[in-house]
């Protein structure tokens, strides 16, 4: 089962290596990991999507909590989270196919951000199934290159990590 875990960490050198080291050392499998600074420049926020049973995820959270650089760990309820991932995708696309592609971007909410006579670069921000659907739609064009940010997530409603 997929679990999404938010982690607030000290924004110091070495913190990411401590976290990733922990994963490999304790044998946790990570689907994605995204890191960025928060509104407080001293604190970064890491979003981890991990696959595993309840016991594994509980251990993962406990082991993360033991790291001194980790300030707070919260396992987000799958029902109660808003998650997004940003993709940049470069595909083959000649001008004659552009209108077909425009239909796809309109339906999926993707944006065309760069065009050459042979290629188009697309940007999309969405979540899980919708992104997979987008991928299926553009695959026939031929994907040349693709980059994903990894999932970031936040709790729905007024509550949140470090807030009650």
């Amino acid at each position: 089962m997929k679990h999404t875990i938010s982690v607030l960490v000290e924004n110091t050198a070495g913190v990411l290596s401590r976290i990733t080291g922990l994963f490999s050392r304790r044998g946790f499998n990570i689907d994605s990991l995204a890191v960025g600074i928060t509104d407080n420049p001293d604190i970064s926020r890491v979003t981890i999507v991990a696959d595993g049973n309840e016991h594994d995820v509980e251990q993962l959270a406990k082991q993360l909590n033991k790291l001194v650089d980790v300030i707070k760990v919260q396992s987000l309820d799958q029902e109660q989270l808003i998650s997004r991932e940003l993709w940049l995708v470069k595909i083959s696309c000649t001008p004659d196919k552009l209108s077909e592609l425009k239909n796809i971007t309109e339906v999926t909410g993707a944006k065309i951000i760069d065009v050459t006579p042979e290629t188009v670069t697309l940007e999309i921000s969405d979540w899980g199934a919708k992104l997979m659907n987008f991928k299926a739609l553009i695959e026939p064009f031929g994907i040349l290159e693709m980059v994903r940010t990894g999932v970031v997530a936040i709790e729905r409603g007024a509550g949140g990590i470090g807030r009650k």
Partner: protein, 519 residues
């Protein structure tokens, strides 16, 4: 003052009077400062042993001890000592010199990324980037090493930073945002413990190293009396109560006492106290989960549920929890149940020697065992009176631990200290005989000599493998070796030698080596 002087001042503020180490170019400024500050330095003959010596020292005082090494190989030689301290939750602050900050990452002479290398088995580490942060880093390091689940912490100080001028002000108090160990037990959980104890017919206490680390031996004994429960220990828990006490059923596990393991199988409630359910102590946790109700008390929440699922987990400091539990638990006015039986097995010479020596240890005396077959002999035959201690490298099983650890243990305690060492392990640390001699440290060393790596040999035999690479032919004559170092020695060949020799052995004001041949 110079940042290096600030380092020595920080150590003074933390009441450090003795450090163990090995100097080198990158850490010379720090050495100069500790000399000026009047801190005693014990020069070892290998950095790893400085770490083990600090380990022994820390275990006596239950507060952080300090070990210093230089950059590169000096630092990497500490790795085994760091891992050893980590596995047994021993508070040691490791200080390493590092190459100049502008050289870091250029692979200059004696450069090694020690914070990176030690990361998998250290509680926390610091690479000092600003000289002014030294007082704060040291304060944090001592807090981290000595509180919560204790453990090793490393401070890596680049050579140029040690020479910078700073204003010294040591923080009195400090809060670390990401570090808030739970020390007090949850009241509701304690109530549940009391209920479970009241309902049980055969409660059993299993005392781990956490009992000693939190200084809770009195509370442990009081609880055992109040709820009429016998006590088994893990290897790290040996010495939680006197060996010959009727409540003590001995060490559990694969190499433990039969009666201790039977007790684990027979009890209907087990209180695991400061024990992490290591694989050597509890081979099949799932069996216990099925047959027994489990209360698990530990300072580290990650240990609860890691190897075994507890019915009632209680997170916090063992001493706090046991005193709180003593207040809520009702007295069980029933006779103590037991699995103890008469031990009629014929003992070997080494077993007899361990028993006779250890039972003579004064209050606060320490029996340090190295790792190998002789550790099993030691663990099952030491006979400790109240207050006597038993040290070994329990989690990591580090050969070569006992001699340097006994040096640290003696310097911290000033009490009888015996190192019991197999000939394999002895040859991993025998260079420290020079340290013993140089500082006239009156540790008593027993070499259990079977001319082979006995534990590996037995393992090969059990697995029907060919006996291979376990013969220690070529080993020196240990009595001559002792002589070469100017250390007195004697051979114990038969039982009658033991008592005659023991009269002078422990009381000698200088180091002494006993050689005992074993199987």
């Amino acid at each position: 003052m110079k940042a290096a002087e600030a380092v020595a001042k920080c150590l003074k503020k933390e009441n450090i009077t003795t450090v163990f180490g090995y100097p080198g170019a990158a850490v010379c400024a720090v050495y100069e400062a500790i000399e000026k500050e009047g801190i005693r330095h014990i020069l070892v003959r290998h950095e790893q042993n400085a770490g083990h010596a600090a380990n022994g020292y820390a275990r006596v005082n239950n507060t952080p001890a300090v070990c210093i090494a230089t950059s590169g190989p000096g630092a990497t030689n500490l790795l085994t000592a760091i891992a050893t301290a980590y596995m047994d939750s021993i508070p040691v602050v490791f200080i390493t010199g590092q190459v100049s900050s502008d050289s870091i990452g250029r692979d200059v002479f004696q450069e090694a990324d020690i914070t990176g290398a030690s990361e998998p088995f250290i509680k926390h580490s610091f690479l000092v980037k600003e000289a002014a942060s030294i007082p704060k880093i040291f304060k944090e390091a001592f807090i981290l090493a000595g509180t919560g689940r204790k453990g090793p912490v490393l401070i890596d100080i680049p050579e140029d930073i040690a020479e910078e001028e700073i204003d010294f002000k040591y923080p009195e108090k400090l809060s670390i945002r990401g570090y808030k160990p739970t020390t007090k037990g949850n009241k509701l959980q304690l109530k549940r413990c009391a209920e479970a104890i009241a309902e049980s017919e055969r409660p059993l206490i299993c005392a781990g190293g956490g009992v000693l680390l939190s200084g809770a031996t009195e509370e442990l004994y009081a609880l055992s009396e109040k709820i009429s429960a016998p006590i088994v220990t893990t290897m790290m828990g040996i010495g939680s109560l006197p060996t010959e006490d009727e409540r003590n059923l001995g060490m559990i596990g694969r190499f433990g006492k039969e009666e201790a393991n039977i007790a684990v199988n027979k009890c209907d409630l087990i209180l695991l106290i400061g024990a992490r359910v290591g694989d050597r102590a509890v081979k099949s946790p799932t069996f216990i989960e099925k047959t027994t109700k489990i209360i698990h008390i530990d300072i580290d929440p990650a240990e609860i549920g890691k190897n075994l699922t507890a019915d009632i987990p209680v997170v916090g400091d063992v001493k706090n929890i046991l005193s709180a539990l003593l207040d809520v638990v009702s007295e069980r006015d029933v006779p103590l149940w037991t699995t103890k039986k008469e031990d009629n097995k014929e003992k070997t010479l080494a077993e007899k020697l361990v028993k006779r020596v250890s039972e003579r240890l004064s209050d606060g005396g320490i029996f340090v065992s190295d790792v190998g077959n002789h550790l099993i002999t030691a663990a099952n035959n030491v006979s400790l009176k109240k207050g006597a201690r038993f040290f070994t490298s329990g989690g990591m099983g580090t050969m070569g631990y006992a001699l340097p650890a006994s040096i640290g243990a003696y310097l911290a305690s000033g009490k009888d200290t015996v190192a019991f060492i197999g000939d394999g392990a002895f040859q991993m640390s025998l260079q420290e005989l020079a340290t013993v001699k140089q500082h006239n440290i009156p540790v008593k060393i027993i070499i259990a000599d079977n001319s082979s790596l006995g534990m590996v040999r037995d393992y090969q035999k059990a697995k029907n493998l060919k006996e291979f690479a376990v013969s220690l032919d070529g080993s020196p004559d240990y009595l001559k070796l002792a002589d070469a170092y100017g250390i007195k020695s004697a051979l114990v060949d038969e039982e009658s030698d033991i008592d005659e020799m023991l009269d002078n052995f422990l009381s000698a004001k200088e180091p002494f080596i006993i050689l005992c041949r074993t199987e």
